[in-house]
């Protein structure tokens, strides 16, 4: 599949159909990838595609200047692209979405907890087996054992935005709401404790914001100094506010790609905040992000008959 992808990308660049191909290449650490911005046909040879591809590439679309861009798109990228088109942030005709079948992604945090702190020196994928080795150890197991929880029960319907639609994609089984449901069963005190613990770990580095394909404000509220809504240091109160307001900003827009959780250097995963709003959006307002570029926004609009049982 990678060979095909490289050939297609090189051809598109050589023919001048696009000036840029957005994809992934090998990173400097084992099992890591980094975004590749291929502008010459020769650079297309560095493209890779496998379950270690981490970043959501759709987030880079707003930051590149090329007239036409080819985007290597899994369902995550496709949904984010739909949302960006819906918000008029990207011209639909500027992007060729090359759909690739996706059967999930490796979660580095799941891998790290399975390896209990051992440092990976070498890692590779052989078919469905993941081979990892360190200084004096080696392990081999199916990579689906460390599948990213965000991929379980992936929504795969074709949003109709692909230039080349993916074929043969089989979504991993499971429920991406599993962790959300666990938290729903907690008492308010336990929920506050868990949220506070996450906020205390948060470094306020805003990697989640940077990795998010939908976090697109030209000036983020965290960067404002007059008024300085949030302090410069990682105060738990400020980080709690940041994560809450980020969730509000992503209400009805978050496509649940999990890029925020994967980008976090200290393993804070607050996807459940976004899932709470996604579920409320679908149950209360019949809204589903990432599937229809013509749909109405969730926040900023209304229906006259929206329920208001909570208003005094």
């Amino acid at each position: 599949m990678t060979t095909n992808l490289r050939e297609t990308a090189a051809r598109l660049l050589a023919e001048g159909t696009v000036q840029l191909v957005l994809g992934w290449e090998r990173g400097t650490l084992p099992l890591r990838t980094t975004p590749l911005f291929a502008r010459e046909p020769g650079e297309a040879g560095r493209l890779v595609y496998d379950p270690t591809c981490d970043q959501n590439l759709a987030g880079y679309l707003g930051r590149v200047k090329e007239e036409r861009v080819a985007l290597i798109a899994r369902p995550c990228e496709a949904r984010a692209l739909v949302e960006q088109v819906r918000e008029n942030r990207i011209d639909r005709d500027r992007v060729l979405a090359i759909g690739l079948p996706c059967s999930g992604r490796i979660s580095r945090s799941a891998l790290a907890s399975r390896l209990t702190g051992r440092v990976i020196r070498e890692g590779r994928l052989a078919a469905d087996r993941l081979v990892v080795a360190g200084d004096d150890w080696r392990e081999e197991f199916p990579w689906t054992e460390v599948l990213d929880p965000v991929c379980r029960g992936c929504r795969l319907p074709d949003p109709g935005i692909y230039w080349a639609a993916p074929e043969g994609a089989v979504p991993p089984e499971g429920d991406r709401f599993a962790e959300f449901d666990r938290r729903r069963s907690l008492s308010p005190e336990q929920r506050r404790d868990e949220f506070r613990q996450a906020a205390e770990r948060c470094l306020a580095c805003y990697a989640c914001r940077q990795a998010c394909p939908m976090c697109s404000c030209a000036e983020c509220i965290t960067d404002r100094t007059a008024p300085a809504w949030l302090g410069p240091a990682a105060d738990p109160s400020d980080t709690m506010l940041f994560h809450l307001v980020r969730a509000m900003h992503l209400a009805g827009r978050c496509v649940d790609c999990g890029a925020c959780a994967r980008a976090c250097p200290v393993g804070v995963d607050l996807r459940h905040l976004h899932l709470a709003l996604e579920r409320e959006g679908s149950e209360r307002f019949d809204h589903c992000p990432g599937l229809d570029p013509a749909s109405r926004p969730l926040v900023g609009g209304f229906r006259p008959d929206d329920r208001e049982e909570f208003i005094l």
Partner: protein, 148 residues
Amino acid sequence: MTSANAAWEPKIVAFLCHWCSYAGADLAGISRLQYPPNVRVLRVPCSGAVNPFYILKALQRGADGVLVSGCHPGDCHYLAGNLVARRKFALLRKLLEQVGIEEQRVQFSWVSAAEGQKFADVIAKVVGDVKALGPAGFLLKAGRTSCP
């Protein structure tokens, strides 16, 4: 309950829309209606102008509860500001519930300029609810123990 707790009075920040709820509060005042003095009123152009972040920020700066009040649906001076707000608030409530913040801490109401009595009743209810919950310390920023 210790004497310190017995002396505690909740602080409520109320965002009132200029066209209806603020006038409703004014009517309550000129009608000499009694309601608890725990509320700090902030006048805003429209309930739709209340960014959810303002509500969170009030809780961070020492408010024990927040009330947002606007015009009844259909009466908005800007036609639909309150209807847009209604959606935002429904989502914010869900988000606060998700992180374990009690729903009575942040409340919403429609109060028209003619509803002085309703305004007094709403304030009494919100103050009573927050009093029952006790001080809100969850989002409070260290060193910010009071607002005037």
